[in-house]
Amino acid sequence: MSADKPTGADLNPRELGRWLWRQLTSMRTALILLLMLALAAVPGSVIPQEGVDSLKTSRWQADHPTLTPVYEKLSLFSVYDSPWFSAIYILLMVSLVGCIIPRTFVYLRAIRTPPPIAPRNLTRLPDHASYDSDASVEEVLQRAREVLKGRGYRLRPAENGSDYVSAERGYLREVGNLVFHLSVVVVLVGFALGSLFGFRGGAVIAQGSTFANTISQYDDFEPGSLFSADQMDPFVFSFDSFDVEWQRTNRGVLARAFDAGLTYTDEPGAEEQFYDLRVNHPLSIGDTDVFLIGHGYAPVITVTDGDGNEVYSGPTPFLPQDQSFLSFGVVKSPDAQPGQIGLEGLLYPTFELVEGNPLTIYPDDLNPLLSLSVYTGDLGLDVPTSQSVYVLDKANATQVLDNEGKPLRLDLSIGETATLPDGLGTVTFDSVQPWTRIQFSQTPGKEIALVGVVLALIGMCGSLFIRPRRVWVRARAGSHQDGSVTMVEVAALDRSGGGGDVAPVLEEIVDELRSAPPRVEEKQ
């Protein structure tokens, strides 16, 4: 990319390596890598991501059968774990470390170096001023030392016979810059720890049930690659109560506040504690954070089969379809005799017929109604592959019909029982209980990442707002006829990467110098 690209022939491997290293750790490479990182992040916001929304991803894949294999090859469904994305940021990190470490040494040397000697001609510098003073050369220089010291400048030790003062400030800028860049690495290490050793999981839990923190109780569980099961905190909680407050707004009725009352023990035998789990108010038990992230209704349904045995009973979480809390759910009872029974349908929390259409007019469970279709036959539950509890496999099942030959629909209010045709059994809608979706996570290294970002921010502010400057003041016995006048030259230089306007600073310093006790006389 640059003109000094060597021709491979006249380089030995060692030199080539050094050349490559220099290129990699150059500022320009950092810039290009940063831009590449920005660009590389874009596809992940356009194409659905496996790790963000797996359902949407699989739908997209179903809709785009030709593109899917290509995208899969390019890891476009998991951009942020893809080899090419990783390559960019790993290169960036290598470049960063390769850039920062040498700079640290340069910096360490620089802080031990006194401010440099004054340029021969101060008036050649962009920002300079000159005036005549009645004070003697020594007095002017002494005054300059005091003023500059008072302003936080470090001075070059006076040498015999030198006619100037050299001062510098803003050494911390470089520290800020180094701290910032190193903190970026710290943040990434913290992040990496979290994703390697942590886990995320969730479970839908109906009110009244108890949850013991073992992996088998989770509905979904994503461990990091170095996670080990003995990291699981041995807590147990019961979900005792659920409160929700509904509010009518012009966008419909919204759940304004909801909380789940939990009774928990940190470990078996420990003291019982209580917590009202709410959105935005997670509970920490040991290293695990527990979050409330959703809620819904679980109708308690009892199924008895044709032989009169109770084959299914309990709260069945139904999933809300939208904010009206019209909810969809499934019941599977594979053990029923003479045939398996599968139920699928909707729960209307506050049912009402509006112009012949079944609707739910309020999300609270004021008048719940279950509306179910019935299937029998093979529900596909014999195969060992795990099946979603929210999906009924109807491939080999048949829908049960009513005596008019139309698909049977059971409409049940609380307490009602329906008898299924063909001696299949009965279905009873006992009650409705709330469920909550609770998310669990362990994120080791999160403190490291947090400390990292905070340090990065502090370092960045130092690096952006501390202005490194050099100031020189030179005094010479004057050219005035009687020789009593001292000619003073002051120059200032801003050493930050732009954005520094030293003119006002220079002006201030000059004013301060000239307000010195000995009377001064302005000469142009």
Binding site: L34, V52, P126, Y131, Q321, L464
Partner: protein, 346 residues
Amino acid sequence: MTNAAWETLSDQAIGVSGVVYFLALLAHLVEWSSLRGTVPVDAAAASSTRSRAAVGAVAVATGPTEGAGSGTEESRQRVALFGRLGLLLTMIAAVVHLTSLVGRGMAADPNRVPWGNMYEFTLSGTFVVTLMYLVLYRRFALSWMAPIVVAFVLSMLMVAVIWLHSAVTPLTEALNSYWLVIHVVAAVIATGAFTLGGMTSAMWLVKNRKGDIATGPLARVPSLATLDRVSYRIHAFGFPVWTFAVLITGPIWAHEAWSSYWNWDPKEVWAFITWVVYAAYLHARSTAGWKGKNAAILALVGLATLWFNFIGINFFSTTSQHSYADSAPSVVQPVGQPVGQPVGQR
């Protein structure tokens, strides 16, 4: 006052402030049209003791009076008068604008910060742009920016009122957190700063094309060196604030509300892209060969990603948990749930 009264007040106030912004724009246009044909004053007169070797050794034309050039006394006075009038009107508009914001917050039950949806975010963001412009007006001699800022704010307000307006609703549960205050305040402030910085960079590019020493209206725009410096300073202010908003408070809040610090949600992705582009901008500033023009272009790319993230993502992306404007609260949707057609009242 009732909530409905507050909401009406807010809606009326935004209309009034729009009208006042419009008057301010007119005043600035008159001011600028009076400038035609004038040539810049040599600002060297301002300081006789120092010389500047920077590119723009000439006019650092600043405040409304200074920039009037060597036109006739009468036209100079006109320029000054209308410049001041425009500034005054902008201040009044800003106060009314603020009233509207307060009204939005008071209209909600319970009262809340006025940035719960895109309409409110646009109102807040534009208010911050105006406020920062007014605050920095003297410090950075921003009078040249007046028509641009006012026109921008006015058009964004029109967009907000026409397309984004929505009635006051309470915050959804996930948004109901004091992190909303911290996170969004920081994001809005950074957005305001980057927007101003973008205007300066754009002007740098325009001026760079036309040559530094132009006559007519462009002469009032500060020199390339000054523009460059102001632009850097504004971005240098915005960048840490943005970092704080999207890389510190954002993840903390996301963790509390959604249980994960960083989820590569589209909104997060674009906030990250914006951050990286501005980091590149700051790098470009200190890399020879990338200074000036390339840096200014990067600043504008950053601004584009910023505004795309704000407006575009909310419209185009359905997966974003952040598209809080019109979707059902994400919090009621457990993972893997089939999403059906909405039934019932909307």
